[in-house]
C-alpha cells in the first residue's frame, strides 16, 4: 500500500480526521436498519456485525496511529476538534473498551433473552461520542459529545428493564448526571461570559474554544468568576471520573446496571472524563495551576482514602468494583496533578488506564459468568466460594485481574502505578505519594479478600480437617470465545507487567 498517497488524501479532507467516528455512527445506523428490514436472521447477526465492525475499526485506527497517518496535532472543523497524539491513543482505547463491552453484552443479552439491537447501537454511539470527547477543542463540542455519552449511558444502565434494580440505577444515574450537567454548564457559562466580556483583557469572540480561553485565563487568573467557572467545570468532570464528593452515585449505579454496562461505566466513562480533564489541565486550565493543583490534590487524597475505605467492608462485588474504581480515580488524579509540572505524566495516565481496562474487563468478564439467568444476580463475595474448584480458568483470570488492580508485580497494574509514582516523584508530590501508598495497602485487604474467597476456601485443612465448601454455583458455560478473550486479557495483564516496553513506547513519552 502506498501510505504517502493516503496521507495526502487524509490531510486534504477534514472529514477523514473523524473517519472512525463516522464509521461507527454508520455502523450503528446500519444495525438499526438491519433490525428493521433484516428479519430474524438479520437480527441474529447484529451482535456479530457490531463486533466485526469494531475489530476492523480498531485495526484501522491502529494502523493510522502506527503509521502516523491521518491528521495530527492540528485543528479541524474550525477549531471544534484538535487531534493530539494523546487523543489518537484514547480513540483506540475507547474502541477497545467498546469491543469488550460488546462481547460482555452478548453474554448478558443471551442470558437474559433481551433484544440487543439498541444495546449495540447505543454502545457504538457512545463510543463515537467518547472518541469525539477526547478530541474536543471547544466547549460546545465537549458538551455535545459528553451528553451523547451520558444520555446513552442512561439508557444502557436501565437496559435490563425487567429488573427494577436496573431501572432504579438508571434513574439515579440520570438525576445525578443531569445535576452534574447543569453544574458543568454553569461553569462553562461563567467562563464563556467572562472571557467574551469586551472590557477584559484577552477577551475573545470565540471564548469557548480552549486555546482562546487559555489566553484569557493567563491574563485573568485571579478573577473570582473565572475561578468559580473553572471549579464548576471540574466538578462536572469529577462526576464522570467519580472523584469525591461527586462519586456518591457510583456504587448504586454499578450495582444495578447490567455487568457489561458496569464495565463500560467503570472504564470508558471514567477514561472519557480523564481525557477531558487532561485536555483541560494541559490546555486552558494550565494557567490556573495555583487554584487547580491544590483542589485536585486534595480531591485525590480524599478520593483515594474514601474509595478504599468504603470498599473495605463491601461484600457486593459490583459495588466493590465501583468503590475500588473510585480509588483508582484518586491514583489517576495524582497523575493529572503531576501534569502541571511534568507534561509527560500524560503517558503514565494512559498506561494506567490501559492496565485498568485490561484488569477491569478481566474481572468483570469473570463476573458476567456468575450472573446466572433466571435467578437473581450473584453479586455477593460469598458466591465466589469454591470458584477455583468449579472453574480454575475463571478463577485464574480473576486472580490476575484483581492482583493487577491491586498493583502487585509482576502484573501490568503495578507498572501503571509505578509510572504514576515516577511522575509524582518528578513533580515532587510527596504527600500524595504517601496517601497513595496508604490507599494501596488498604486496598490489598479487599482485593486479597476476594481472591481468598475465590481460591482458598475449599482446600483441605491439614490440621483441623476439611472445611466443607458450600454447594457449587452454577457457572455459565465457558465457550472458546470466552477462553480466548479472557485469556488474552489475563495474558496481556501479565505480559505488560513483565515486558511493558512495547506499550509504553507506543503511547509515547
Amino acid at each position: 500500500m502506498n501510505w504517502e498517497s493516503h496521507k495526502i488524501l487524509a490531510e486534504s479532507n477534514q472529514w477523514s480526521a473523524i473517519l472512525p467516528e463516522t464509521a461507527l455512527v454508520f455502523l450503528a445506523l446500519s444495525l438499526l436498519l438491519l433490525d428493521m428490514f433484516g428479519g430474524k436472521p438479520g437480527r441474529e447477526l447484529i451482535g456479530r456485525i457490531a463486533v466485526v465492525g469494531q475489530v476492523i475499526l480498531i485495526f484501522l485506527s491502529f494502523t493510522l496511529l502506527r503509521n502516523n497517518l491521518g491528521i495530527h496535532n492540528q485543528e479541524t472543523f474550525s477549531g471544534m476538534l484538535f487531534h493530539s497524539e494523546f487523543s489518537q491513543v484514547m480513540r483506540i482505547f475507547f474502541l477497545l473498551s467498546s469491543l469488550l463491552t460488546s462481547y460482555l453484552g452478548s453474554i448478558f443479552l443471551k442470558k437474559n433473552q433481551i433484544s440487543g439491537t439498541e444495546f449495540y447501537t447505543i454502545l457504538l454511539l457512545i463510543t463515537a461520542g467518547l472518541m469525539l470527547l477526547a478530541q474536543s477543542n471547544h466547549f460546545i463540542m465537549l458538551f455535545v459529545a459528553l451528553e451523547t455519552v451520558t444520555i446513552g449511558f442512561y439508557v444502557l444502565v436501565s437496559y435490563n428493564r425487567d429488573k427494577s434494580n436496573s431501572l432504579e440505577a438508571g434513574l439515579k444515574y440520570l438525576i445525578m448526571g443531569g445535576l452534574s450537567t447543569a453544574i458543568l454548564l454553569m461553569g462553562i457559562v461563567l467562563l464563556f461570559g467572562l472571557a467574551s466580556n469586551p472590557e477584559l483583557p484577552g477577551m475573545s469572540h470565540n471564548a469557548m474554544k480552549f486555546s482562546d480561553l487559555d489566553i484569557f485565563l493567563r491574563l485573568n487568573g485571579d478573577n473570582v468568576v473565572a475561578k468559580t467557572g473553572v471549579l464548576l467545570v471540574l466538578a462536572g468532570i469529577a462526576f464522570k471520573i467519580g472523584s469525591v464528593p461527586f462519586q456518591i452515585w457510583i456504587p448504586d449505579v454499578y450495582q444495578g446496571a447490567p455487568t457489561p454496562v458496569t464495565a463500560a461505566l467503570a472504564v470508558s466513562s471514567k477514561a472519557g472524563g480523564f481525557a477531558v480533564l487532561i485536555t483541560l489541565v494541559s490546555g486552558p486550565f494550565k494557567p490556573m495551576a495555583e487554584l487547580v493543583v491544590p483542589v485536585l490534590s486534595l480531591t485525590a487524597i480524599v478520593t483515594i482514602l474514601f474509595g478504599n475505605i468504603a470498599a473495605l467492608t463491601q461484600r457486593n462485588v459490583k459495588r466493590l468494583i465501583g468503590l475500588s474504581g473510585v480509588s483508582h480515580t484518586g491514583y489517576l488524579l495524582i497523575g493529572v496533578v503531576a501534569i502541571y509540572s511534568i507534561p509527560t505524566a500524560e503517558s503514565a495516565i494512559v498506561f494506567y488506564l490501559i492496565t485498568y481496562l485490561l484488569a477491569s474487563y478481566a474481572v468483570l468478564g469473570v463476573m458476567a459468568h456468575l450472573s446466572v439467568a433466571g435467578k437473581d444476580d450473584l453479586q455477593e463475595l460469598g458466591d465466589y466460594q469454591g470458584m477455583l474448584k468449579e472453574s480454575p480458568f475463571l478463577s485464574g483470570v480473576l486472580v490476575l485481574g484483581l492482583s493487577s488492580l491491586a498493583g502487585i508485580p509482576p502484573l501490568a497494574g503495578f507498572i501503571g502505578k509505578l509510572l504514576i509514582f515516577y511522575a509524582a516523584f518528578q513533580a515532587e508530590l510527596y504527600a500524595l505519594l504517601g496517601v497513595a501508598i496508604a490507599g494501596i495497602v488498604i486496598s490489598i485487604y479487599y482485593y486479597f479478600g476476594w481472591i481468598k474467597e475465590a481460591t482458598f476456601r475449599f482446600w483441605k485443612l491439614p490440621i483441623l480437617g476439611a472445611e466443607e465448601p458450600e454447594a457449587p454455583k452454577e457457572w455459565s458455560e465457558i465457550g472458546s470465545l470466552t477462553r480466548v478473550t479472557l485469556g488474552v486479557l489475563a495474558l496481556l495483564t501479565l505480559a505488560l507487567g513483565l515486558y511493558p516496553g512495547p506499550l509504553s513506547s507506543l503511547i509515547g513519552g
Binding site: 458538551f143 442512561y154 432504579e168 438525576i175 454548564l185 457559562v189 464563556f192 461570559g193 470565540n206 450495582q255
Partner: protein, 101 residues
Amino acid sequence: MTIGLNEFLVVSGLLFTIGFVGLLIRRNTLVLFMCLEIMLNGVNVALVAFSQFNGTMDGNLLVFFIITVAAAEVAVGLAILVALFRKRQTVYVQELNALKN
C-alpha cells in the same frame, strides 16, 4: 431602571439555585426532573444574556444544544420512570432505594 447583564445573571442564578434546592428537598421524581430543567434553563438565561451583551453568537448556539439535550434527557428519564413505576408503584425517591450500602 435599565435591565442590564447583572439582572439577567441574577435571574439565572436564582433559577439555578431554585433548581438545586428543589433537588435537595423534593421527593417526587417528576419534580426532580422539573428542577433539573429549571437549572438548565437558568444556564440558558445566562448564556443568552452573555451572548447578547458580549456580542457573540456562541452562547445562543449552545442554548439550542442544551434544549435538545434537556429534551432527550427528560425523554429517557420519563421512560425509565414509567417502567420503574410499573415495578415499584411509586415515584418517590425515598422509596426507590433498593440499591444501597
